[in-house]
């Protein structure tokens, strides 16, 4: 049977008019719902307090960066951001460092009490911070860690470590255990294998876990406020001083709020490819 290979004409491509689909409408409405409150905060952050109080406007009449200037030039203001970022990063590193080997153990081995241990870890994710606030205060005071970054970082491991273990375990289960075994057969020791071969394999999982640790540590208020006074005070707690004798300075408050979103937005930007991929692969 001979095949004729004559002219390869330009293929007819399918075309369709862009239809307005329910899906898109839903998405647009939802995203608008997501963004409008943030916009509102942003709008206010560009207004002076007087302008805010003087009347309702949809956008700032005389945009000004004064509110931001107030925050970024006053050490007692911006130190809050530094404090927050310090303990959040400490917490993320700490949580991942201890969660990685543990998640490996849970994903690869059966051992005495493994399931109970896993559940117990998860219950800590579920423990209400309100329950622990006071004992934490006492505990960290007694070991002399009160009002330090490490105290908040340690306290936040309470809910971040279980979460990180859980997420990482899901990712690790997706890696065939034959890779581990091949490495051992090749002569890799466990630590060398873990760092050189295994961690690159679950990089996206580590990214997702780091994202969640960052997120939950960043947004938490109750414990971080209870465990700090002056030196390690997080921004969320400093923000309350906008309530002055003359009422609330809405403009500065809004600017401070917007600035708290920035680190989060940066983190999302860095893991944006992992979020989609990570969510799909992992068990989260």
């Amino acid at each position: 049977m001979a095949v004729t290979t004559n002219t390869y004409a330009t293929p007819v491509r399918s075309f369709a008019l862009p239809k307005i689909r329910t899906k898109h409408v839903i998405m647009v409405i939802y995203l608008a719902f997501m963004l409008i409150p943030i916009y509102w905060l942003f709008k206010m952050s560009l207004q002076t307090n007087r302008e805010i109080m003087s009347g309702f406007t949809l956008w700032p009449q005389n945009p000004t960066l004064d509110n931001y200037r107030t925050i970024l030039t006053d050490r007692s203001w911006y130190i809050g951001y530094i404090n927050s970022i310090t303990y959040v990063v400490m917490n993320t590193v700490l949580s991942l460092a201890v969660a990685l080997p543990a998640a490996y153990a849970f994903s690869r081995y059966r051992f005495l009490g493994d399931k109970h241990l896993f559940f117990w870890l998860l219950t800590n994710r579920m423990a209400p911070p309100a329950v622990f606030a006071l004992p934490f205060f006492q505990l960290y005071s007694s070991v002399g860690l009160f009002d330090t970054h490490i105290a908040v970082a340690l306290a936040h491991t309470l809910f971040n470590v279980p979460l990180a273990v859980w997420i990482l375990e899901g990712f690790m289960r997706g890696v065939p255990k034959e890779i581990d075994e091949t490495a051992y057969i090749d002569g890799y020791s466990f630590p060398k294998f873990f760092v050189k071969i295994f961690m690159p394999l679950i990089a996206s999982g580590i990214g997702v876990a780091a994202f969640f640790c960052f997120m939950f540590s960043w947004v938490e208020l109750l414990l971080s406020r209870t465990l700090t006074a002056v030196n390690a005070q997080p921004i969320t707690s400093i923000m309350t001083r906008t309530v002055g004798a003359s009422g609330i300075d809405w403009g500065v408050l809004a600017a401070a709020g917007i600035l708290t979103i920035v680190p989060g937005a940066l983190v999302i930007y860095f893991v944006r490819n992992y979020i989609a991929k990570g969510f799909a692969l992992g068990r989260v």
Partner: protein
């Protein structure tokens, strides 16, 4: 110089994955573990490799008990059914990794990697990452990594199962060649009898966690010790039927009587199971002393040079593999011939009572 398993067994959650097994594999031999999925091939290999610790028994390597020894300290190599490579490394680094860990000099590593790559036809791909390769190339990379170590024990767990048919054929021809050069003990697990035969060497047939027979491959094929071994080592599966021996007559199944010939002649009276391979069934008489059966034709399958004939013989499903192309009518009665010399007789318990006489002659 050998690998000896002494009463090795594996029990997981109260279930026997491997019943106590003794096996001696000599240096420089190819050993095939043949059995269906979940028959314990992989578990046995893992015990040999040191990835699993046996519940009982010892593993002795070159006269030394290595039962509890870490895998890292053993000189083994293993290739899995899945294409297992380190995805973050290039093919070169993949192949070089065991050597680097052994502390071999850079020049020596390069020489051996190049050599293994050439053998596996991977030289042009050395700079690429494994996931950019085709399945066959990925598996070649895994094989190269296993071979470059010069391990004394090379374990191959269904290495070709996930490859395309033709690719499998090519690699299957390559593996014995590589093996001949290495001088190591090769252990090769497979579900396919044909693959076992092609690889030659010794075969251990496995069924539900037990090694049913171990010996040179052709002799296990021709003289299976029991019905289970015969069934494991036959594709399409061996045909079975119940027979009753009474005097000089043998009654097949539901009453077709035939003169007791060949291996059947010397049996004591009683009830047995007869087994014969599909390729020994013929559509025409082959000489004078053939047994012949009336069957119903269910389906035929033509491969171009051969015809699979699916038959119903008094309730027993049979398969015949006939030379040449035959177009037959479905549902019709059909006559088939069988040389009595090709019939194995098994006791009700499954033990071989009388081997097929052709096999004894061979």
């Amino acid at each position: 110089m050998s690998l000896v398993l002494e009463g090795v067994s594996k029990v997981v959650e109260g279930q026997h994955h491997i019943y106590p097994t003794d096996l001696t594999l000599e240096r420089g031999t190819m050993n095939v573990l043949l059995g269906p999925t979940l028959s314990g091939k992989t578990t046995l290999m893992r015990i040999m490799a040191g990835l699993d610790v046996p519940a009982t028994g010892r593993v002795v390597w070159e006269g030394r008990d290595v039962t509890g020894m870490r895998v890292q300290d053993r000189k083994v190599a293993m290739v899995y059914q899945q294409f297992i490579n380190y995805p973050s490394m290039t093919v070169y680094d993949n192949i070089a990794s065991p050597l680097r860990l052994m502390g071999v000099s850079k020049a020596e590593i390069d020489r051996r990697v190049q050599e293994a790559a050439a053998l596996m036809q991977l030289t042009p791909m050395l700079k690429r990452k494994p996931l950019e390769l085709s399945g066959g190339q990925q598996q070649r990379c895994a094989l190269a990594r296993a071979l470059v170590k010069n391990a004394g024990l090379v374990l191959l767990d269904e290495p070709l199962a996930n490859l395309d048919y033709k690719l499998r054929e090519e690699l299957r021809a390559e593996i014995p060649r590589i093996f001949e050069e290495s001088g190591a003990i090769f252990v090769y697990a497979t579900t396919e009898p044909e693959e076992a035969l092609l690889l030659g060497g010794n075969v251990a047939t496995m069924w539900q966690g037990e090694v049913t027979q171990f010996g040179p491959t052709p002799s296990v094929y021709r003289a299976p010790k029991d019905a289970i071994t015969a069934r494991v080592f036959s594709d399409p599966p061996m045909n079975f039927t119940r027979i009753t021996k009474a005097g000089s007559k043998v009654i097949f199944g539901e009453g077709q009587a035939a003169a007791a010939k060949g291996a059947l002649a010397n049996l004591p009276d009683g009830s047995y199971r007869a087994g014969f391979r599909p390729d020994h069934l013929h559509l025409h008489a082959q000489g004078n002393d053939g047994l012949h059966f009336r069957c119903t034709l269910k389906v035929t399958e033509i491969t171009g040079s051969e015809t699979f004939v699916h038959l119903d013989h008094a309730g027993d499903p049979w398969v015949g593999l006939m030379h040449g192309v035959h177009h037959l009518e479905f549902g019709e009665p059909i006559e088939v011939w069988l040389d009595a010399a090709h019939v194995y007789v098994f006791a009700e318990s499954g033990q071989l009572v009388a081997p097929a006489s052709f096999a004894q002659a061979a």
